[in-house]
């Protein structure tokens, strides 16, 4: 029967694609890993619980091995007829996602075990979301990008509502879910229009068609489609005015999940923007430059101004993250004149941002083990009983504020260089607005530092609390990375040397 069916198929129409298994090895490791996690949970139930975090870390670190071998190999691999590309930049980003997720797992270990949570599913969902992120790094096709986006979003919706009995967490989950689904609906509508005018779902083909259309017939639909697509991802990176979900979700979600959303999920949004804008929409800089300039200016200004008034440190970090996203959106606005530098400055910013923000959340998790509150005033007097933690947190805050010699300054410097190097009026304007915002930002970061160092402990409770070693590990990795990237930025520029990418872009 099957044989007859096969005979019916015309031979020329079915080509089995040759798959470069090495190129997709990281994704395969994660896929198998997440399946193993789910299966183990359903078969062994409670017995497997204590091993879940270890297993999840092993899966994530295991996926690093093929990433490293691919990086050593160094060649650019193109799969599935150009819809999936593994190049040096995508490897840097994959490594970033894997390490970030590993740190999140470290942060979660005791948090999840101590609280009233479903432990096993938690880790399989995180690993599944990482799969989506890895695919995003290499996707060069609208469909692939969409699938990757949903693969990383749907687990995140569930994770945000993970504290089942807590109304705040429920609220956080529903807000994130509804806004997220709405945003992806808008994104999809944009993608469907883009498919209509671009004649394909492949980014390179769409780019050719965009050039062909120019501002001729069908141009308004191009504009509409582009804006809808960009906005879909602007939601993901919490750019103003699509940021409204972020503070509420961050506050309500379990803190390690917040860290995951603030860093990994946001980075994934930026990766998608990089793929779409640099490989496709760059054909129409007259549209995307002003769009991104508007988003960047609104994000950094509004984010910073609202952050000034926050009393909860997690909400403060949410708004600061919005402002930081504004800084990262800015280089998109000089894409026409300074393409290569814009790209590398965004990627470098993403790496440094991941280190310092994850670190800040790790410290907050450690502190809330004692204070049970994320109010800024509850941090008072921290220096007197946990000086080490205070110093580490101060380093992260200083880095976020952009004070040398911590990583943050170099990230900002890179964006600056890209903006000014673009040599356009828009670039200069953005650079100036960014400079002003940097100063405003210093105020609320230092305010937290001041509370920790100078203020009295509320209700005089100064008994130090024990910090689990996994959390110390998370803080150690991030603090070393933050300081190292600041003192030796050369490390970053070497790993993110995009000359092959630049050559590809120059086509």
């Amino acid at each position: 029967m099957i044989a007859t069916l096969l005979q019916l198929l015309p031979e020329a129409d079915f080509l089995s694609p040759t798959i470069d298994w090495h190129a997709i090895a990281p994704e395969m490791v994660i896929l198998v890993g997440s399946l193993v996690l789910i299966l183990l949970d359903s078969i062994k139930l409670d017995k497997a619980k204590p091993f879940m975090p270890t297993l999840a870390s092993l899966v994530l670190l295991g996926a690093m091995i093929p990433v490293i071998t691919l990086a050593i190999d160094g060649s650019t691999r193109v799969l599935f007829g150009g819809s999936y590309v593994v190049d040096s930049m995508s490897l840097v980003l994959k490594a970033l996602f894997l390490v970030s997720a590993y740190i999140v797992v470290l942060m979660s270990t005791n948090y999840v075990a101590d609280g009233d949570y479903w432990e096993s599913e938690y880790y399989s969902l995180i690993v599944a979301a990482v799969l989506g992120m890895l695919v995003m790094c290499s996707a060069r096709d609208l469909l692939m990008i969409f699938v990757a986006l949903e693969l990383l979003s749907i687990p995140a919706y569930m994770l945000a509502a993970w504290r089942k009995g807590d109304e705040k967490s429920n609220e956080a989950g529903l807000k994130y879910y509804l806004m997220g689904v709405f945003a992806s609906a808008v994104l999809l509508y944009g993608m469907s229009l883009m498919y209509g005018v671009g004649r394909s779902t492949r980014l390179d083909v769409i780019a050719e068609n965009l050039v062909r259309i120019g501002d001729g017939r069908g141009a308004p639909i191009v504009t509409l489609a582009m804006i809808f697509v960009i906005i879909g991802f602007a939601f993901k990176v919490s750019a103003v005015p699509f940021h409204t979900w972020a503070p509420d979700t961050y506050e309500g979600a379990p803190t390690p999940v917040t860290a995951f959303l603030a860093v990994a999920s946001k980075t994934a949004g930026f990766v998608a923007l990089i793929q779409i804008v640099f490989y496709c929409f760059a054909a129409r800089p007259d549209i995307i430059q002003p769009v991104f300039a508007v988003l960047a200016i609104l994000s950094m200004t509004v984010g910073n101004l609202i952050a000034l008034k926050q009393t909860n440190v997690v909400r403060m970090l949410a708004y600061s993250g919005i402002a930081q996203a504004g800084f990262m959106l800015a280089p998109f606005a000089v894409i026409e004149t300074n393409r290569e530098q814009a790209l590398s400055s965004i990627v470098i910013y993403l790496v440094i941002y991941a280190a310092m923000n994850l670190g800040a959340f790790a410290v907050i998790i450690a502190i809330t083990r004692k204070t049970r509150s994320a109010e800024i005033s509850s941090l008072g007097g921290l220096f007197s009983y946990m000086p080490g933690l205070t110093v580490v947190m101060t380093i992260f805050l200083a880095s976020l504020a952009g004070i040398p010699p911590f990583g943050g300054w170099y990230a900002k410097f890179g964006v600056w260089q890209a903006l000014i190097g673009g040599n356009t009026a828009l670039g200069y304007a953005l650079a100036i607005i960014m400079a002003i915002n940097t100063v405003v930002a210093a105020y609320y970061y230092l305010n937290v530092a001041k509370t920790m160092w100078f203020d009295e402990a509320p209700d005089g409770d100064t008994a130090p609390v024990k910090i689990p070693f996994t959390l110390i590990g998370a803080m150690g990795i991030t603090v070393v990375a933050t300081v190292l990237f600041g003192v030796l930025p050369g490390l970053l520029t070497n790993i993110s040397d995009f000359s092959p990418v630049a050559a590809a872009l120059g086509r």
């Binding site: 529903l174 807000k175 509804l178 806004m179 945003a183 808008v186 501002d215 141009a219 308004p220 504009t223 509409l224 804006i227 809808f228 906005i231 939601f235 005015p241 699509f242 409204t244 503070p247 509420d248 007259d286 549209i287 769009v291 508007v294 509004v302 910073n304 101004l305 609202i306 952050a307 000034l308 008034k309 290569e340 590398s344 004070i403 040398p404 010699p405 300054w409 890179g414 600056w416 260089q417 000014i420 190097g421 040599n423 650079a431 100036i432 400079a435 002003i436 940097t438 100063v439 405003v440 210093a442 105020y443 230092l446 001041k450 160092w453 100078f454 030796l488 930025p489 050369g490 520029t493």
Partner: protein, 739 residues
């Protein structure tokens, strides 16, 4: 050469000292202070050796004139850190790249001031720091007279402050932490001073700021201290924007190079357009305004006196605040060309400096806190330096920086010694007085430093201030050195007058009259007085290093040594002209200083005799009784005027009349005006307008933040509506506008 290429050891020593104190300090018998002193001492010795080597290096400079020699002077610059030097090395003799500058570009007929035209040979060495795309960013050291000068000053003051502190902060709860940060601060400042490129300068600049944050807030348990630290830091952040923008503009202006040497040479040769230089220099001036406490960003400096006094001496007198001045001096061609300093009569730099000099001096009048007087005095003196740079008197500015470091550090440490004796109060009006006899060492050193600051001949302050005044090129006889800055001369003379007067006032309050505090004050120990004596002696004699060239009766090589060794000559420095020494101007400046001292002396010392200071001006009855008291119930009058008066009555009466009407009137008028205007400016401009503007900007930002917060209602559907409204507006606008 070894010293020049390995000069990085000096900041590295201090950084090592920081780490050692941090990790092992608590376990050491002296709690880490000895580590700091040994290391800073070693750094000072190395700095001195470097200085000696620099003098020898400059002395055996091969003779040679003209462009070829100037090009060859760059032979000691590592080609990897300066593209111009690399070019010069490639060409061989480096003649090719100097065509922009010929002998004709130097103003003809200008007074050379005994300046031998031999090109300075800076030594630059660097290593790759990181690579950014095709751009290599290096980190290294630039050694020339200017950086060597600062090396010596910073390490010396730091050493003395370390010694002073062992006694002053003895028993402090964070003694070890304090010394660790002193070391780190010194290391950062040295790192900044030796910067080879502008990016490195930014890093050093920020590090200095962070350390000062930690040191000002040393006693953070008291809220004003932590507030002051935060204010200092935030005000400096404002300037940092200027620095960042300026450096980036200049980076692109210099053809994507951060190298100070490249930038200076290009700016000097006219390789960068005037407008770019103007924008760059204006941006950098913002940075100078914040770091060097120039009007209107000076408000943090007096507040920052909340830190421990030795820190004030180190940070707010001798090192950190001169960073701005140093930066201008380092990038001088940028300012020289950008602001067209040569041949004009006003520019942004000189204007800001002159306003600051006068303004700061007036404010110093009405302070009760002795440290605040000194703080405003520092503001004012920094104004002198900035003005000097603004009018083209580069050497005078650096010379003043040099002498000021000594006497101002001495004054600050003296104030520390006073408060050490008076139960840690700095209120000279209410808690001091009459300490002259009790604390003779402090008194005499303070007096010498005051005289130096007031510009009394022949102390060091006289020489440096006189050079600045001459540098304005306005006084008859010194005209047109680098343009004629008449306004600046007048403002600086007024400022000098005020300086002399307010310093006399502090002496009166602190050392004369009755002791007004409580307890029994006592002279401080040797670890406090020895640094004072050293600083006062240096403050007295430091002037001899730059005696005017006009003193040709001195042996050859005794004049203008400072200018000879410190001021660069060659491609990377503009051809500035030095104003000659003018005896008339010197007399005027000394007279102005003496007039200030004299009037203040009469105002305070004379009236105070009656113990009714100030009352007599307000109340006629009081004046009547005071007159009786002054005249000792007229018994004296009876004896002298009635009896002896028969002999010399008319003379005595005339003298009396003169004293009562002319001198008293003058004293009262000047005193009242000065105090009144100082008070008015302090109350209305400094505290209301300037502080108000700073606070207003802050509160309006947070007000807007509070309003924007209201958009975050917590309702999902309002979020969705906002989301879609934004989509619709963006899409609508773009579809309509772009199509």
């Amino acid at each position: 050469m070894w010293f020049f290429t390995h000069v990085w050891i000096i900041p590295a020593l201090m950084a090592l000292s920081f780490l050692l104190i941090l990790f092992f300090g608590k376990k050491m018998p002296k709690k880490g202070a000895e580590i700091g002193i040994v290391f800073v001492g070693a750094a000072f010795v190395l700095a001195l050796l470097t200085g000696g080597n620099w003098i020898a290096w400059s002395n055996d400079n091969p003779e040679g004139h003209g462009p070829a020699a100037e090009g060859a002077a760059l032979a000691n610059v590592d080609p990897s850190c300066s593209s111009v030097a690399a070019e010069a090395a490639a060409v061989g003799e480096g003649v090719e790249q100097v065509e922009g500058k010929t002998a004709a570009s130097e103003p003809a007929g200008a007074e050379k001031g005994g300046h031998e035209e031999v090109a300075t040979r800076p030594v630059v060495s660097c290593v790759n720091w990181f690579e950014n795309g095709d751009q290599t960013i290096s980190i290294g050291t630039l050694v020339d007279g200017q950086s060597v000068l600062l090396l010596i000053v910073v390490t010396l003051i730091s050493l003395l402050v370390h010694v002073f502190s062992t006694d002053y902060v003895h028993g402090d709860r964070r003694y070890t932490h304090y010394f660790a940060f002193l070391s780190l601060f010194t290391a950062s400042m040295l790192f900044f001073v030796l910067s080879e490129n502008t990016l490195q300068m930014i890093v050093g600049w920020e590090l200095v700021g962070v350390c000062s944050f930690a040191l000002i807030g040393h006693w953070w348990e008291e809220k004003p201290n932590s507030d002051a630290a935060l204010k200092a830091f935030l005000t400096n952040r404002v300037g940092d924007i200027g620095l960042l923008v300026g450096v980036i503009v200049l980076y692109f202006a210099a053809g994507k190079s951060f190298s100070i040497l490249d930038l200076n040479i290009l700016a000097n040769e006219g390789g960068i357009s005037h407008n770019l230089l103007l924008i760059g220099s204006l941006c950098l001036i913002t940075a100078v305004m914040s770091k060097s406490g120039q009007f209107i960003l000076h408000t943090w400096l007096p507040d920052a006196m909340a830190g421990p006094t030795p820190v004030s001496a180190l940070i707010h007198a001798a090192t950190m605040v001169v960073a701005g001045v140093y930066m201008v001096a380092r990038l001088y061609p940028v300012f020289f060309e950008g602001l067209s300093i040569s041949g004009s009569s006003v520019n942004a730099l000189s204007m800001i400096g002159a306003i600051t000099a006068l303004f700061g001096a007036m404010l110093a009048f009405v302070q009760k806190d002795i440290k605040k007087v000194l703080a405003y005095s520092t503001v004012s003196q920094l104004g002198f330096m900035v003005t000097a740079l603004g009018v083209g008197a580069w050497t005078a500015a650096l010379f003043h920086l040099f002498t000021h470091a000594f006497f101002k550090a001495c004054l600050f440490l003296g104030a520390g010694s006073l408060s050490h004796a008076c139960h840690h109060s700095f209120n000279m009006v209410d808690d001091m007085g009459g300490l002259r006899k009790i604390m003779p060492k402090t008194f005499w050193t303070y007096l010498v430093a005051t005289a130096a600051l007031a510009g009394v001949f022949p102390l060091s302050g006289f020489w440096s201030k006189d050079e600045i005044l001459a540098g304005t090129g306005s006084f008859p006889g010194t005209q047109g050195a680098n343009g004629e800055y008449h306004v600046m001369l007048v403002m600086l003379l007024l400022a000098a007058f005020c300086t002399a007067a307010y310093m006399t006032r502090t002496i009166w309050y602190a050392f004369y009259g009755e002791y007004r505090g409580h307890g029994t004050p006592h002279e401080s120990g040797p670890r406090i007085t020895t640094p004072l004596i050293i600083l006062a002696s240096l403050g007295a004699i430091a002037g001899i290093v730059n005696l005017p060239a006009a003193f040709d009766f001195l042996p050859e090589g005794a004049q203008t040594r400072f200018e000879h060794y410190v001021e660069p000559v060659g491609l990377y420095f503009p051809a500035i002209t030095h104003a000659g020494f003018n005896p008339a101007l010197a007399v005027v400046s000394v007279l102005v200083g003496l007039a200030g001292i004299g009037l203040a002396y009469l105002y305070f010392f004379k009236d105070a005799f009656a113990g009714l200071h100030g009352l007599a001006e307000r109340n006629k009855v009081a004046a009547f009784f005071k007159n009786i008291l002054v005249n000792k119930y007229y018994f004296d009058w009876l004896y002298t005027t009635v009896i002896v008066g028969f002999v010399k009555g008319p003379l005595a009466r005339a003298a009396n009349w003169f004293s009562a009407n002319v001198i008293d009137g003058l004293v009262n008028l000047v005193g009242k005006t000065a105090v009144g205007s100082g008070n008015w400016v302090y109350k209305n401009v400094d505290q209301k307008v300037v502080d108000g503007a700073v606070n207003g900007a802050g509160s309006s930002a947070s007000g807007v933040g509070a309003m924007l917060r209201l958009t975050q209602t917590g309702r999902i559907q309002q979020y969705a509506a906002l989301f879609f409204a934004a989509v619709a507006i963006l899409a609508g606008v773009f579809v309509v506008v772009i199509g």
